[in-house]
């Protein structure tokens, strides 16, 4: 065997390490380490000021004890509904707006793009305040608007009704965050080469069918991203419900989602003391739910999505 025939070891690709290292280090130090430290609390319980290892007891309690499990399932189901509304309303609207905005001949594009994005920039405090103001039966914004179109009878104190509150809040959240899918899809649409679009125009594929047949397949990975980001964002959501409905997510827990449930358990609320161990157990469950979703996406969907290079 000649020297040449020795299997040559691939040189180590240092640049991969260099590219990954800064992000990896900062992220590990300030995110993973603290969070892992917190999540492992779920295996302990504080008994007489001592942290005692209790295995999966906290989880057993979370699922076995109706004092916890009822709230957990309620929050989970509410969260699912919250997510469904975002998927059905926010993302289609976002995609539609992006598609309209990406038309090369559209005028005032920058204005529309900015205007539609403004709500996303607002802090939750403002969003909570203004929507409570608008939807409040007392000050009459929504009632008089509805009145002006003759629909006054449709008005109800939505945020205070168990059956509407969650949907109303989901829609407020949609209002606030439509800018996110819009901008992402817009960026994706911009990267489609003009020539492909021109070819479609020549082929007689215009307007809506152009969107379905040409653009959508080309931005499918971005649609995947907004779906998974919506999923992750929704199952982590907290602030809007918290500012609009308070930590008890009223009325009667009808707007309680995992984030608010976790907050009460972990940090406590009013007279309820924070219980980091149970809180960590809930957080672990949330983490597992989200992880499952993301893993499905990464391994089952993302690997199957075709990407096209331009």
């Amino acid at each position: 065997m000649s020297v040449d025939d020795q299997p040559i070891k691939k040189p180590f690709r240092w640049h991969i390490l260099v590219f990954l290292a800064p992000a990896f280090l900062v992220y590990t130090a300030f995110m993973i380490v603290p969070l892992a430290g917190t999540l492992q609390l779920s295996l302990f319980r504080r008994i007489d000021q001592q942290l005692v290892y209790v295995g999966l007891d906290n989880f057993r309690m979370l699922f076995g004890d109706p004092r916890w499990s009822v709230n957990f399932w309620n929050a989970l189901w509410n969260n699912v509904w919250f997510f469904i509304i975002h998927m059905l309303v926010q993302n289609p609207i976002g995609v539609l707006l992006a598609a309209l905005l990406s038309s090369p001949t559209l005028r005032f594009r920058a204005f529309y793009r900015t205007a539609i994005f403004v709500p996303t920039v607002l802090s939750f405090v403002i969003v909570g305040f203004v929507w409570k103001l608008i939807l409040s039966p007392l000050w009459g914004v929504a009632p008089s608007l509805l009145n002006s179109v003759g629909l006054r009878s449709l008005f109800a104190p939505w945020l205070g009704k168990e059956e509407y509150a969650l949907t109303a809040l989901s829609l407020i959240s949609v209002w606030q965050f439509v800018g996110i899918p819009m901008m992402l899809i817009y960026a994706a649409l911009l990267s489609i080469p003009d020539e492909v679009i021109e070819a479609a125009e020549m082929d007689g594929i215009t307007g809506i069918s152009q969107f379905w047949k040409i653009k959508l397949p080309l931005i499918l990975p971005s649609i995947g991203i907004i779906s998974i980001l919506t999923f992750v964002g929704n199952f982590n959501a907290f602030d809007l419900i918290y500012t609009a409905q308070g930590a008890l997510a009223g009325p009667n827990f009808s707007t309680d989602i995992l984030g608010t449930f976790l907050y009460r358990a972990f940090f406590g609320f009013q007279l309820q003391l924070g219980d980091p161990n149970m809180g960590a157990a809930i957080a672990t469950m949330m983490f597992l739910i989200i992880l499952a979703g993301v893993a499905v996406y990464l391994f089952a969907i993302q690997t199957r999505l075709r990407r096209y290079q331009f």
């Binding site: 690709r13 640049h15 991969i16 590219f19 990954l20 800064p22 990896f24 900062v26 992220y27 130090a29 300030f30 995110m31 993973i32 603290p34 969070l35 917190t38 707006l97 038309s103 559209l106 920058a110 793009r113 900015t114 205007a115 539609i116 994005f117 403004v118 709500p119 996303t120 920039v121 607002l122 802090s123 939750f124 405090v125 305040f129 203004v130 929507w131 103001l133 608008i134 000050w139 009459g140 914004v141 439509v178 901008m183 817009y186 960026a187 911009l190 080469p193 003009d194 125009e201 990975p221 971005s222 992750v232 982590n236 809180g279 989200i290 992880l291 391994f299 990407r307 096209y308 331009f310």
Partner: protein
């Protein structure tokens, strides 16, 4: 593309939809701005009315200006936001490039690891983070915030950018390799400029939660010298009585810098950035 490519009817419909949605998007915002200029009574008597000479009352703004050092707060917010953004985009793009460009063992797992952070509210790690900052003497410094926000922003940035980097033509990168460019140069000179729209998007997504965050400034840097705008505005939210004039004024003012940043970034949303590259 030519004008003729779009019929007037189609563009009229597009404008109709966009105008309708713009109205929905802006109406509540206008309500805030209008009301931030009115007296408290006027806000709740007739929230829809424009400020009239009788109801016009800049008390919110004067309160904000009188209370604390809001210019300093703005400056702090800007430093923290821009600083974190810089590192998030730089480190995130680098990691995204590594993940999207190279096949190596554990690629997807690394990607998953780097995405874990968005699956747990980082608030939960507060105590550990604060302990670290106490130990390193970074409490009440903007550096502490920048570090945490950088870590916090990375997962999303990597997630989005790696997807967009996959759409950069391999031939283009290969042309760079043939040209003798190092991997670093390929990243900085070829890939980064070509994913500008995506970077702008990520920058905007990253910037907003940082700018609006209340929690970490409260925990890590609550001192007068390091307060951010959002934290500063909290001073008007009392236990029982909230000074809505001041809150609205402070937060309305606080929108402006982010909007300016947004406008700066959205200039990077350019069409046809890769056209003419390959046949």
């Amino acid at each position: 593309m030519s004008r003729a490519a779009h019929s007037p009817a189609r563009s009229a419909a597009a404008h109709a939809v966009l105008i309708a949605y713009t109205a929905i998007a802006l109406f509540p915002v206008l309500l805030i701005v209008i009301n931030s200029l009115k007296s408290r009574n006027a806000i709740f008597r007739s929230p829809l009315a424009l400020p009239t000479p009788e109801t016009f009352d800049p008390v919110g703004y004067t309160t904000v200006m009188a209370q604390g050092d809001f210019l300093l707060y703005f400056q702090n917010s800007l430093i923290v936001t821009v600083g974190s953004l810089f590192f998030v985009i730089l480190f995130g793009a680098m990691a995204a490039f590594a993940l999207s460009e190279y096949r190596f063992r554990g690629n997807t797992l690394t990607g998953l690891y780097l995405a874990l952070g968005i699956m747990i509210p980082i608030r939960l790690g507060t105590v550990a983070i604060l302990q670290m900052m106490v130990a390193s003497g970074l409490v009440n410094t903007l550096t502490a915030l920048i570090l945490v926000y950088t870590a916090q922003g990375l997962p999303l940035c990597i997630f989005i950018l790696s997807e967009f980097m996959k759409t950069v033509s391999d031939d283009l990168k290969n042309a760079g390799r043939i040209d003798g460019l190092s991997e670093y140069r390929i990243f900085f000179r070829l890939v980064l400029p070509l994913v500008r729209p995506a970077m702008a998007t990520v920058a905007v997504f990253t910037m907003i939660p940082i700018w609006n965050d209340l929690w970490f400034p409260l925990i890590l840097a609550p001192s007068e010298g390091t307060k951010t705008v959002t934290l500063g505005a909290q001073i008007f939210i009392g236990q029982f009585v909230t000074n809505w004039n001041a809150v609205l004024a402070a937060l309305s003012l606080a929108i402006l810098p982010v909007l300016v940043l947004y406008l700066i970034f959205s200039r990077q949303l350019i069409r046809g950035i890769t056209s003419g590259a390959v046949k």
